[in-house]
Amino acid sequence: MAGTGTAHLRDIDDLVLRVDDLVVEFATPDRQVVQAVSGVSFDIREGETLGIVGESGCGKSTVGRAVVRLIQPTSGTVVLDGVDLGRLSSEKLRRARTQMQMIFQDPISSLNPRRKVRDIVAEGISIWGAGPDDGTDPEARLDELIAAVGLDPEATRHRRPHQFSGGQCQRVCIARALALRPKLLICDEPVSALDVSVQAQILNLLADLKQAYRLTMLFIAHDLAVVKNISDRVLVMYLGKICEVAGADDLYALPAHPYTRVLLASIPTPGAQSPVDDVQIRGELPSPLDPPSGCRFRTRCPNATGVCAEVEPQLVEIRPGHVVACHHPVLEPA
């Protein structure tokens, strides 16, 4: 898979995030280069949720981290609300980061165990202030945030993270992320450490908050059903490249990339039919130190031919809003 290309980028005004040709490479101690993300482009419009899905090592978390510059990208641009983050001084970048907040996989380790919930949620406000548009009392604002994530402010405020379950800690993380009214919320596997019954609560909460605060989200996860549930559009990654981008329902109804089809066929669903017939995948994930030539998925692809080794497929629009990077996409309805 893979491809590079920008056929899916939109020329519209209300973009919150635009990522162009993002490349992230890491050097190994023995001077090899890990190609973690290789030419990924995407955009997110205001109020939209873009899901990024893929297996371990596909680069999905690296994309999220490079967007907020927890990792310095090797090349490529990240434009948040019209501002190119790569050109900002460190002081201005610090300020710009208040506009993008992150939620991580393990809620317990992302909260300082010594601090009280109130102080954790208030930290951003105490550094940056409550914002010009906000005349409300900061304490009332904190209580409102804690209540918005489904916790009781009275009972929660003065307790510390170890007194809460994983699901409740994730709610605290969400309240903290929302405190500065960010333009973009990046969720990196926010429910994969939670039990299924709690996972549903958090997904519903994110959906409610998206409505209430008009949130724009980048939602990164390995679970296709979870990503479909929360996202408006879904981007599938494999070994640092984009395979396919489409509207959530479209992608699952008419998956065109062989890798997307493999992923869909692998989901164990109680008592339900997979949307795709059994597709077998061969072999092991190639090393990102030395990714295959041409299409990066070709070594495991059931449809691969000679051309796949020679020419890297570009993202091509196969129907409105649905792009795929494959020489032999499946275009028939499944």
């Binding site: 299924v196 019954s197 959906a207 692998s266 989901i267 109680p270 339900a272 949307p275």
Partner: protein, 351 residues
């Protein structure tokens, strides 16, 4: 037919600084040779403690009561020495994280041949030949070359294949797989589950598959036991369970999972609250505080684990899903606006 494994009334208690925790509270089941049972539950349901109690793998802080009969012998009464001879040829286990169940400084070949040399008294060359066969069976390419690799040289999926090969080395009669695919990617998960299924048939082993994922047991087990807060709440042949789920918890769990065939942005039917604290259990049904159909009786009396419709479908619920009592309980709660335990009466359900 006499069962391969007969687990009777297991009660496992841990002593902690905050008091005693009864992690498993009176669980019984049987498994016939060549059959598979899936044990499903969320964190803290007691599923892993149950199998560790069966295997005798818990430390001194745990007290286990009950009997575990395998081929008529109570394996909990075995001496340390007897257990050594039992683990391997009779019963073997595959764990969640392959990296922690492989010794990082031992070559894969050594890890697999060790048990065959001890239990089956095979010579070095013979054990090595058999190890190559096993690695081939679990789908490791170029197995002869892999024998001299160390675990860190393999991917997660390959490591799990190696631990499966180790478990199968002495052809055990019973294989216990505790969340064998939870640490793996979906495509690898499918390969490993298919592999376990094929090997289980080929070796005619009994298998216990423990998972938090109802999707994993569907289609790959003969029967399923669902656990909640240390108890079995429902047990049925797998197809029966998915066709006519009876326990309110099982049904709620199934509804709370995002399904790939539902449209995007489908509202999930989440279960409110969280499982009870096992140190401070109240009377009544353990699921009642979160149950949409709970009645007053559910808060005071504890339901028995009894057959429903057919003898092999056991349910611990006064108002099972899909029964007239269950329907009435739910519609009463809807009229009242809340269930007896305080949970909102769900809109979905019924069926």
């Amino acid at each position: 037919m006499k069962p391969l494994l007969d687990v009777r009334d297991i009660r496992t208690t841990f002593q902690t600084n905050d008091g005693a925790i009864r992690a498993v509270d009176g669980v019984s089941f049987t498994l016939e040779a060549g059959r598979t049972i899936g044990i499903v539950g969320e964190s803290g349901s007691g599923k892993s403690v149950l199998v560790r109690s069966i295997m005798g793998l818990l430390g001194p802080s745990a007290t286990v009561e009950g009997e575990v009969l395998m081929d008529g012998r109570d394996i909990r009464q075995l001496s340390r020495l007897e257990a050594r001879h039992f683990w391997g040829p009779e019963i073997a286990m595959v764990f969640q994280d392959p990296m922690t169940s492989l010794n990082p400084v031992k070559k894969i070949g050594t890890a697999i041949t060790e048990s065959m040399r001890f239990h089956l008294r095979l010579g070095g060359a013979e054990a090595r030949r058999r190890a190559i066969e096993l690695l081939e069976q679990v789908g490791i390419p170029a197995p002869a070359r892999r024998l001299d690799d160390y675990p860190h040289q393999l991917s997660g999926g390959m490591r799990q294949r190696v631990t499966i090969a180790m478990a199968l080395a002495c052809s055990p009669k019973l294989l216990i797989a505790d969340e064998p695919t939870t640490a793996l990617d979906v495509t690898v998960q499918k390969q490993i589950l298919d592999l376990l299924h094929d090997l289980q048939r080929e070796f005619r082993m009994g298998m216990i598959l423990i998972t938090h994922d109802l999707g994993v047991v569907s289609g790959r087990t003969d029967e399923v036991m669902v656990m909640y807060a240390g108890q079995a709440v429902e047990r049925a042949p797998t197809s029966t369970l998915f066709e006519s789920v009876r326990h309110q918890y099982t049904a709620a769990l199934l509804r709370s999972i995002p399904r790939i065939d539902d449209p995007s942005h489908t509202r999930l039917d989440a279960i409110v609250g969280r499982p009870p604290d096992l140190r401070t259990l109240e009377s009544g049904c353990r699921f009642a505080p979160r149950c949409a159909a709970a009645q007053h009786r559910c808060l005071t009396d504890e339901p028995e684990f009894v057959p429903h419709d057919v003898p092999e479908h056991q349910v611990r619920c006064f108002f099972p899903v899909g029964t007239p009592e269950g329907h009435r309980a739910l519609s009463d709660n809807q009229a009242a606006g809340h269930a007896a335990g305080g949970a909102p009466p769900s809109i979905a359900v019924a069926g």
